[in-house]
């Protein structure tokens, strides 16, 4: 039995490889994710171990607000300058230095644009002189208040050289400095971990990066005649627990861990790729094994007739699956290591020359690859295996032993599974699933897909014949259509594989387009500002501009009302919340159309705050309640709620008075709204505001329509990422169509031979196969569009309370998908069609 299985496997190796390809891709992404994380993780470890090589003990304040890497910058409060002397007094502490280092020093490059960085920080520091680690490549260190040095990476990125006058944006608006030197790191490196660094004199760094004189970000010391751990404990004891005291090694671990957390995002994307690839791959394998079992009916029946048990037949099919799974896993693992290495290399380049540690293949990558690859293949092959075991021995003696089995069971099963999916979706979307909302929704989507896939054979009959009618004007077209309707299960599973990808893209597009439509409609309706100042962020921090621009803009004739919006991540009553502040509180009503539900929202005293109705409700607060607020900087303060406004997409949860902005991480406005007096021309005011923004290169001024477009276009990025992700699912589905067609061509060799014998030309043969492929793929796309629209519409409905009120259907996209499907069909048909056209007529007729 084993040998028979092996022989049959070898005889079908190409076919199995084709279907195994989907598993290869899935496994590739799983193992690639692990390899990438491992390699980059170890690279970060190495970088930070090096960066803190000259620090034995570090003293920093405890952070006021915990902010994760993705949500904004970490702001640990500064430490007083006097701390340096207190640490110096500790026995064993040598080389004690007060360090200023904070994210948010943006250099304006030679081209007048701000040097951007996604990921690595843009550090503003005090110049501490050369060391084992740091050395000047050119020039000297900063001595005067208007002198700076930058690291070599930044000098290259900005295109500036020693002697240039350069602008730098910090907590303060743009200031000009003379670049007096460029420094690099040991080993010829231009940066550590890709960071851009600007180093000022210590007093300037304190003022610009920390906001006040005589403070440091942290204090570092070296251990002299003692171990770093012993010194840490000494310092900690001397300072009495008010500070975070860590060894350099701990610091390196923490810094590395923070970046690794950011990496988990990449990991999730790759695992998402893997999940979709494997889901579609399951369909593909199921189909291939079904076809193989059908083709081997006589052979399997013969085995039964000569005494093989049903279990042995199952075993033989499952064994085949195991072999395919193993091979696919090995190939996938190899490809995954390659992909992981490539991504790590690209990431290293992108991060500005991260020195990569050697490529690592963690055990998790290997275990994951084989577990996933084998499991998927065997599970997918189980159903066909069970079917194979039910083949009666008499089938060996009969000529045709594959009668059209009724679809009742599948249909009932499909209906049940679809219903389960719909119920799960309903539960998840209605918010009744509590903590398991995401899992419930994902489960619902999965069940819905499987359910619809099971229903597909029934749907396929009428739909395919309807679709095929379009192609029936020629004989080959008609034959192709009849062929595509011939095996509803096979057509269905092939189409279902395509359905998954297209349904996901359509669903996500429906949701995002609806969100865009709703936000634009609301903004069009509510924002009563003709001009808006805003900019794309350069890294994790939002773009900001000089607050002085607001006053100057207000002075332009024809300007009626100007509002600058500030924002910060804060702890409000013990919970982390985004808080906003307006330079002009009246704007809430007059520009954003907010309506008071309690109290007065038109004015705000320095110790008062406003809340949105949602925030007030969820926190159980009302006018007169007092709430402690800890901003990124400064001490916690208590504010009294003086007014509550109706929540909308355009309002923030909490509004603080303008006086609070001094303690925001970015004490500058991040958006400005300009309302003009009736009858004032937008075109006349806009260039004047533009001129005022000359020293705030991160932002620009746009009219309302352009601003709304810019805001909603933020949703394009996730959309595009998802589209790329799902393009992969579609590629796998194409493999499925090729596979199905190739097998059909093989199965119908005799028929093709006959058709050729009675005069079907090669071109006609190819057209026949192409029509079959196009009908299948358009059917799949049609299903995908319908299912995706349904899922999207359900989510949009569920999000009605979140402000997505308009259902926007992307008709253009849908048509594109259908056209794309037709093209996919044609492409998928190429190889099988050529094969069919090349069939040797004589050989085909003699074919058994």
């Amino acid at each position: 039995m084993f040998r028979a299985t092996l022989k049959s496997l070898l005889a079908r190796k190409l076919r199995l490889l084709l279907s195994g390809l989907a598993v290869v891709l899935g496994v590739m992404f799983v193992s690639g994710a692990f390899v990438l994380t491992d390699t980059l993780g170890r690279s970060f470890d190495a970088v930070f171990a090096d960066a803190y090589a000259d620090v034995d003990v570090n003293v920093a304040a405890k952070p006021k607000v915990e902010v994760s890497e993705t949500e904004g910058e970490q702001v640990a409060g500064p430490v007083p300058a006097s701390l340096v002397d207190r640490v110096k007094a500790v026995p064993g502490a040598a080389d004690v230095r007060g360090v200023v280092a904070a994210d948010g020093a943006r250099l304006i490059g030679g081209n007048g644009k701000v040097v951007t960085s996604f990921g690595p920080p843009q550090l503003g520091e005090n110049w501490l002189g050369e060391s084992d680690l740091v050395s000047l490549r050119e020039g000297r260190g900063p001595q005067a208040d208007d002198e700076i040095v930058v690291n070599a990476a930044l000098a290259k990125a900005a295109g500036v050289r020693v002697g240039d006058r350069v602008g730098v944006l910090t907590l303060s608006p743009k200031k000009e400095f003379t670049l007096v030197g460029v420094f690099g790191y040991s080993g010829g490196r231009d940066s550590v971990g890709g960071a851009n660094e600007v180093a000022f004199t210590t007093p300037v760094a304190q003022r610009l990066m920390l906001g006040k004189p005589d403070v440091f970000s942290n204090v570092t010391a070296r251990a002299d005649g003692t171990t770093p751990e012993a010194l840490r404990d000494e310092v900690s004891g001397a300072l009495g627990g008010a500070y975070d005291v860590k060894t350099g090694d701990q610091l390196a671990d923490d810094a590395s861990a923070g970046l690794k957390e950011g990496l988990s995002f990449f990991n999730k994307i790759l695992l998402g790729f893997a999940a979709v690839a494997l889901l579609v791959g399951t369909f593909l394998i199921l189909n291939t094994f079904s076809i193989i079992v059908a083709q081997r009916t006589r052979e399997l029946a013969l085995m039964r007739a000569i005494g093989a048990s049903g279990r042995q037949v199952i075993g033989s099919v499952v064994l085949e699956a195991v072999a395919v799974g193993l091979i696919a896993s090995v190939l996938g693992l190899a490809a995954g290591i390659g992909v992981g290495a490539l991504l790590a290399y690209l990431f290293g380049k992108l991060a500005g020359g991260l020195t990569l540690a050697g490529l690592g293949v963690p055990p998790a990558a290997v275990i994951g690859a084989f577990a996933v690859g084998l499991l998927i293949t065997v599970v997918a092959a189980l159903l066909p295996a069970l079917r194979a075991a039910r083949i009666p021995p008499i089938a060996a003696m009969q000529d045709v032993a594959t009668p059209d089995r009724p679809l009742t069971k599948v249909t009932v099963g499909g209906a049940v599974v679809t219903t389960v999916g719909a119920v799960l979706l309903f539960l998840g979307l209605s918010g009744n699933a509590g903590d398991n909302t995401l899992a419930t929704i994902l489960g619902g989507v999965l069940f819905a897909f499987i359910g619809v896939a099971l229903l597909t054979p029934v749907i396929s009959r009428p739909v395919v014949s309807l679709l095929g009618a379009i192609f029936s004007w020629s004989v080959p077209g008609k034959l192709g259509r009849l062929n595509s309707g011939r095996n509803p299960r096979r057509t269905a599973i092939t189409a279902a594989a395509l359905m998954v990808g297209i349904a996901l893209v359509t669903g996500v597009t429906v949701i995002l387009d609806s969100a865009k439509g709703s936000i634009s409609a609301l903004a069009e309706d509510r924002i009563k500002a003709e001009l808006v100042i805003s900019g794309a962020s350069s890294g994790p921090r939002p773009a900001s501009f000089d607050a002085a621009v607001l006053e100057k803009t207000a002075a332009i004739p024809g300007v009626q009302l100007v509002d600058g919006e500030y924002g910060d991540m804060a702890t409000v009553g013990g919970e982390r919340t985004w808080v906003a502040a307006s330079s002009n509180v009246a704007a809430l009503e007059r520009i954003f159309g907010a309506k008071a539900t309690a109290g007065d929202i038109s004015r705000l005293a320095p110790d008062q705050m406003l809340l949105s109705s949602d925030t007030a409700k969820s926190r159980n607060l009302s006018v007169g309640s007092t709430v402690p607020v800890q901003l990124s900087r400064g001490e916690a303060r208590t504010y009294t709620v003086s007014g509550i406004y109706e929540s909308s997409q355009l309002t923030n949860p909490v509004v603080l008075p303008p006086q609070a902005t001094a303690d925001f991480a970015i004490p500058q406005p991040i958006q400005g709204f300009v309302q003009l007096a009736p009858g004032t021309s937008v075109g006349a005011v806009q260039p004047q505001v533009e001129r005022l923004l000359v020293d705030s290169p991160e932002v620009s001024v746009a009219d309302r329509a352009a601003f709304i477009k810019q805001q909603t276009s933020q949703l394009d990025t996730p959309l595009r990422m998802i589209q790329i992700l799902l393009a992969l699912a579609i590629v796998i589905a194409v493999l499925g169509i090729i596979n199905t067609l190739a097998l059909s061509v093989l199965e119908r060799t005799r028929e093709l031979g006959l058709l050729r014998a009675i005069g079907l030309r090669r071109a006609q043969t190819m057209r026949m196969i192409t029509v079959e492929a196009v009908v299948i793929s358009i059917f799949g796309a049609l299903l995908g569009v319908v299912v995706g629209t349904g899922l999207g519409a359900a989510v949009v409905r569920a999000l009605k309370d979140e402000g997505i009120t308009d259902l926007v259907l992307p008709w253009g996209q849908m048509v594109t998908f259908l056209v794309l499907a037709a093209i996919i069909g044609v492409v998928a048909a190429v190889l099988p069609a050529i094969r069919a056209a090349r069939i040797n007529v004589l050989g085909a007729i003699a074919h058994d």
Partner: protein, 255 residues
């Protein structure tokens, strides 16, 4: 060896010193050794011979399904030898009809669609009078809407015969058309083939190893070891059987 019977001008198919060699070196098999034969228009010719004699190869070469190693083949006025694929396709579509041992109907099409398939492929319309004649002759009028799976073996083969006849080809090649049928269905099909020759002037070349089937033909050509060794005009089952017996002995020794 040459078997020349009848008037040259009226030959529907002709083989002229045809050699067919498969493989090379030690594995070389010579299937046909210089066969020359003519198949007159409007006659029913059977090709007989023991298995391995080359009878099927001869038919395949005549029909343009297989190429010849040496020599020429003609169908009507067309030289088959040297035609490319599209030329061969056109030849098969317009001048040749086929009936195979296995029924070779498209399972997705009805009987009527199967019958009209060669004409549809060629983009031609059937002559309605001729179509009616064919349908009535094969006796399938009641079954035209059925799919092959709903027809008996004999009925399926009659559909295949009708498909070959309806296009009025120069010549119909039948490869063991009764090989898969019981004797009664076989007799029906053979009667039907013979009447299409007698009444409608169709040319048919049939390969068979069954003397009873061969007896329906006007003439039998015997092949052995790739050569034409004998022929019978107006054969009966007995004369065919006798000739076969004579042929069998030397061939078995030769093997």
């Amino acid at each position: 060896m040459t078997a020349t019977v009848g008037r040259q001008a009226q030959a529907a198919a002709r083989a002229n010193d045809v050699w067919k060699v498969y493989g090379s070196g030690e594995a070389q098999v010579i299937a046909l050794r210089g066969v020359s034969a003519e198949f007159e228009r409007g006659r029913f010719t059977a090709i007989m011979g023991p298995s391995g004699s080359g009878k099927s190869t001869l038919m395949h070469c005549l029909a343009g399904l297989d190429s010849v190693t040496r020599g020429t083949v003609m169908i009507g006025e067309t030289t088959v030898t040297g035609l490319n694929d599209s030329g061969l396709t056109k030849l098969r579509r317009d001048k040749v009809g086929f009936i195979f041992q296995q029924f070779n109907l498209l399972p997705t099409l009805t009987a009527q669609e199967n019958i009209l398939l060669p004409l549809s492929i060629a983009g031609r319309k059937a002559d309605p009078a001729w179509y009616d004649t064919v349908i009535d002759t094969v006796g399938l009028r009641e079954r035209l809407g059925h799919r092959p799976a709903q027809l008996s073996g004999g009925q399926q083969q009659r559909v295949a015969c009708a498909r070959a006849l309806v296009a009025r080809p120069e010549v119909i090649f039948a490869d063991e058309p009764t090989g898969n049928l019981d004797s009664r269905s076989g007799a029906e099909v053979l009667n039907f083939l013979r009447s299409s020759v007698r009444e409608h002037g169709q040319t048919i070349v049939m390969v068979t190893h069954d003397p009873t089937a061969a007896a329906y033909a006007d003439r039998v050509v015997f092949l052995a070891d790739g050569q034409i060794v004998s022929e019978l005009i107006e054969p009966t089952a007995d004369t065919v059987l006798d000739t076969m017996k004579k042929l069998d002995a030397p061939v078995e020794v030769g093997n």
